[in-house]
């Protein structure tokens, strides 16, 4: 199996309990994947709830979805995809052991991630202004008696209008959990950039960068699903 006693050289990043660098790399990569597995199931609960309520309260979901800005949503999707690309390039730079390039790509990822969070904050603020935050600041006024601004929406009957709370609860739970993951990611990035600048990841030991990349891409994938599910319900109506 690991016929690598010969390789038992003391590589600087080899922790004492691993036999070889390769074993260490494989272990941490596999560990990261298992962690992402738990993340899938973490969001899985939310997606299940979403699926059930969308089937039950479809008209409320349509109207709720139409309250979101499709421009900001699309823009944010593009921003996240860009950040995924820059992250992938960062990993690439790390593989090629190019320190400055790596730092550059990581900074780009950081900037894009922050832009995403900024836009998200704008969207949340707008929801607050429109009284669409369930529990804290919620009113169905907009849906039962649409103001001039949203005239194109047909008014919802009262019973269905109340169900928009379920939609917005899920909207905030899902995007909130996603945003929390982004905030954690951005915080880790700050540390990584500092360490990358000091040259930690361009000497052949790049597991940390790779694993962070996996995390970042995962967060991107979650958004790839959230975007059509939350923003794009029946836009043609």
């Amino acid at each position: 199996m690991h016929d690598a006693h010969a390789e038992h050289a003391h590589a600087p990043h080899l922790r004492h309990h691993f036999e070889t660098v390769e074993q260490q790399r494989e272990a941490s990569s596999f560990g990261m994947w298992l962690f992402l597995l738990t993340e899938i199931m973490f969001f899985g609960g939310l997606f299940t709830a979403y699926l059930i309520y969308r089937n039950w309260y479809y008209p409320a979901f349509v109207v709720g979805s139409h309250q979101l800005s499709i421009f900001l949503g699309t823009f944010n999707t593009a921003v996240l995809i860009c950040s995924s690309f820059t992250m992938a390039m960062g990993v690439h730079a790390s593989e090629l052991r190019k320190r400055k390039e790596l730092v550059g790509w990581l900074v780009a990822t950081l900037v894009l991630g922050s832009v995403f969070l900024g836009v998200k904050a704008i969207e949340y603020h707008e929801k607050w202004e429109k009284h669409h935050v369930p529990g804290l600041n919620f009113s169905v006024q907009e849906f039962t008696h649409p103001s001039d601004k949203y005239k194109e929406e047909p008014p919802l009957p009262m019973d269905m209008a109340q169900k928009t709370q379920v939609y917005f609860s899920l909207y905030f739970a899902m995007t909130g959990m996603h945003a929390l993951h982004m905030i954690i990611g951005v915080s880790i990035l700050l540390v990584l950039i500092a360490k990358a600048w000091a040259g930690h990841y361009t000497t052949g030991h790049m597991t940390t960068i790779e694993n962070f990349g996996l995390y970042w891409h995962f967060v991107d994938i979650v958004w790839i699903f959230l975007f059509p599910l939350l923003y794009l319900i029946s836009r043609h109506q």
Binding site: P59, P157, M158, D159, M160, Q162
Partner: protein, 350 residues
């Protein structure tokens, strides 16, 4: 015997009086449940006996003194297959048997008499169609199927009558049903078995199974004057339901006469059978159950009618055979506009 110890004596007396290893079989379903139970106890005993016997036997035969050297045995596919297939077969029998029983318990016969039960922290409120209200008690006749239509006003409760071997969760926002035929007169426990807060263990009551004659007497003696349907009629009028559901050709809402039990076509093309749950839900979420051919103009009554009021309405609509009285009421209430105020018993006080 008092020289032993008064406490112990009392305990013994208590034991002998109340000694019970088995609940009374007081419903039509109980023997069926018990039969399955005995079958399961039997296979459990056999299974346990086999395991205990094997352990005991091998412990004696192959203890170190008798058998100092172990013989290594790898395993046996035949044996593995045996103890996979035999338990599996037994479990499948259990599954089929249990499923049949489940469908028997949760599938009420069509001729069952209906009693409504509202659970709330921490009491059971039973409402008979004749208008008899009971708290933490339920009077039923024997030898007649009784269906309970149950709903909770607040949290999950669970309605359980061990002597009848029936139990069903009582859920907020949705009707659940359970049915039984009492076979033995007597008084039995009603328990709330789903933990529901501080006084959970006080949410108990008694079901009184009576002979049909006695039941008739009880019904006559404890009526509150108005049947559920009559209460429902008043509520129907006071909420102004009749103005749309008048049954005339130009009315805004569908006619409700004899609608119960029918199949209705919905606006989205599907067909729905009208039952208690459907009636309740259409009052609260009318646009989610839009009947084909009508505009979605009915307002929701969510938060405006108590569960008891909803039960009155459901019972009223169930028994509505013609729209004659609806139209009558409509005409009179247009004349006397002050009349409905008195009838608001089912309306939530705001």
């Amino acid at each position: 015997m008092h020289f032993i110890s008064p406490v112990l004596w009392q305990f013994l007396v208590n034991w002998l009086t109340h000694f019970a290893l088995f609940p009374p079989e007081a419903s039509g379903i109980a023997p069926y449940t018990d039969a399955l139970y005995f079958f399961l106890v039997l296979i459990s005993l056999v299974g346990l006996a086999i395991v205990a016997l094997l352990i005991g036997l091998f412990s004696v035969l192959y203890r170190k003194e008798r058998n100092p050297e172990a013989t290594q045995i790898e395993g046996s596919t035949l044996l593995e297959a045996t103890w996979t297939i035999i338990p599996l077969a037994l479990f499948m029998v259990t599954f089929v048997w249990g499923a049949l029983l489940y469908f028997r318990i949760y599938n009420p016969p069509t001729n069952a008499m209906n009693i409504y039960v509202v659970g709330k922290q921490w009491m059971w409120k039973a409402e008979h169609p004749g208008g008899q209200h009971e708290i933490n008690a339920l009077h039923v006749p024997i030898n007649r199927p009784v269906q309970l239509t149950m709903i909770s006003q607040d949290v999950f409760h669970s309605f359980s009558i061990p002597a009848f071997r029936v139990k069903r969760e009582v859920i907020p926002g949705r009707y659940t049903t359970v049915w039984f035929t009492a076979t033995q007169t007597g008084t039995y426990h009603i328990f709330c078995t789903q933990y529901c807060g501080t006084l959970h263990s006080q949410m108990i009551g008694e079901v009184v199974a009576m002979s049909p004659d006695e039941y008739e007497r009880w019904t006559a003696g404890s009526t509150s004057g108005a049947s559920l349907a009559q209460n429902g009629e008043r509520l129907f009028a006071s909420l102004g339901c009749g103005s749309c559901h008048s049954g005339t050709a130009d009315s805004h809402g569908p006619s409700l006469a004899q609608v119960y039990g029918n199949k209705l076509q919905m606006a989205n093309g599907s067909f729905v059978t009208v039952d208690d749950a459907f009636l309740r839900d259409t009052i609260l979420n009318p646009t989610m159950h839009q009947v084909a051919g009508y505009a979605p103009i009915m307002p929701t009554y969510q938060g405006q009618i108590s569960e008891e009021g909803l039960i009155d309405l459901v019972e009223y609509i169930k028994n509505l055979n013609s729209n004659y009285r609806v139209q009558q009421t409509l005409n009179t209430s247009q004349v006397q506009t002050t009349a409905p105020a008195a009838a608001g018993t089912g309306v939530v006080k705001q």
